[in-house]
Amino acid sequence: MILAQTEGRPLVRWDWIFDHLDDIWARTLEHVTLTGIALIFGFAISLGLSLLAIRYRRTYSPITWVAGLLYTIPSLALFAFLVPFTGLSLLTAEIGLVSYTLLILIRNIVAGIDGVSPAVLEAAFGMGYTSRRAFWDVQMPLAVPVIVAGLRVASVTTVGLVTVTSLIGQGGYGAFILRGLRRDFPTEILVGTVLSVLLAVVFDLLFLQIERRTAPWAHRRVV
């Protein structure tokens, strides 16, 4: 496998890892922060746009069209559009990262709410719920599994994308990948890549737990 030794240079130098635990911890915090900010803002914007799309059905197509357009534009190109204006900054990275969460989140929020059985809604109205209360107390909770499924995909995708932001001076674990490349030091590239995968798994499991807690009635879904 990858661990093969060629030209007398091992691809993984374990001693480097133990010597750089501080560095790894600092990058972990950076990676989690970059991902967390993107998810929070991405979710807030998506929720707002989804509510708009649910209230005014005609806006759904244009909203998802724009979100789809943002999703199709390569991340580096999107960063390129922003760098001349916002520089090699956290803001540039976050605008890009947030843009990529929108399509997945909006689709899932709207699909989750649409998926609530009309009979349940009918029952809520029959019990005297106003449509506002029915929305927040009945439809939203029942939509949680689908919404969280969207958050799982969005978080895993974002964790991977964060590594790319190393090229614009951010990056979390991506900084290891980039530095390893520049120095031809595969250990660092591997550390960055493997830790990014692990963090993606952690986010995935975290949201899975959230789903179990908030929607215990739902079956475990394999996405």
Binding site: T72, V164, I189
Partner: protein, 236 residues
């Protein structure tokens, strides 16, 4: 805006387009490598996916592949391809970029093809078999045509992803349009950054549109393609 007029000037200057490091060659390189890598990925991933989908086996593999594909950062794969390629004596630039792109394009093609075949209504498959079709006939005349929309969408999405990821090839010594971005970031040249970004985005959007237009000739009549969000993709 000064920058925008500089970028416009850049596009309107003949020298920007010509030469070994001009826009024209880099665009052609970028597109050619992307299409080549996607074709190889499709050639490798499609047959096993079609067969396993037909046999209705390997669901675990399909789910695992797409999850792994999504979790593994494409930047990491591109970066890892370089030291491996160097140690194998394949050099930097083309080969590591190509191999990384093929590896990244395969999981979504596999999983979508698999689920496309698998999701064909069992009643239709049974009817086909009941009419006396052989196994291969059922696959060729019934399952494959009905799965074409999903497969076509998967190929489209993969192509767009590969075009996007090919940009990262510039980090490991390949040319392509990524050069404008990487060199522009490194040297603080906003004109290159913006011009490169425009070219890459245009290429991705045009490829997406081209596949959508071509649908009309590729898909069997009466079937339409799926939405991109329903297709499993890898992050770029």
């Amino acid at each position: 805006m000064n920058l925008l007029s500089d970028v416009l000037d850049f596009f309107l200057t003949a020298q920007s387009w010509t030469g070994d490091d001009g826009l024209l060659i880099r665009t052609v390189d970028h597109l050619a490598l992307s299409l080549f890598a996607t074709m190889v990925a499709v050639a490798l991933a499609l047959p096993p996916a079609v067969w396993l989908g037909h046999r209705r086996r390997g669901a675990f593999l399909a789910v695992a592949l797409v999850n792994v594909g999504r979790a593994v950062p494409s930047f990491g794969i591109v970066a890892l391809a370089l030291p491996i390629s160097l140690r194998l004596g394949l050099g930097l630039g083309f080969w590591p970029t190509f191999v990384a792109l093929v590896a990244l394009a395969m999981p979504p093609v596999f999983t979508n093809t698999y689920s496309g075949i698998r999701e064909v209504d069992p009643a239709i498959v049974e009817a086909a078999a009941g009419m006396g079709m052989t196994d291969v006939q059922v696959l060729r005349t019934t399952e494959l045509p009905l799965a074409t929309p999903v497969i076509w969408t998967a190929v489209r999405v993969s192509t767009v992803q590969v075009i996007a990821t090919a940009t990262l090839g510039a980090v490991i010594g390949w040319g392509g349009l990524g050069r404008y971005l990487i060199d522009g970031f490194a040297q603080g040249n906003d004109v290159w950054v913006l011009a490169g970004g425009i070219m890459v985005a245009a290429l991705a959007l045009l490829a997406d549109a081209a596949f959508t237009v071509a649908e009309r000739w590729v898909l069997p009549r009466g079937l339409s393609s799926r939405d991109r969000s329903e297709v499993e993709t890898v992050a770029v």
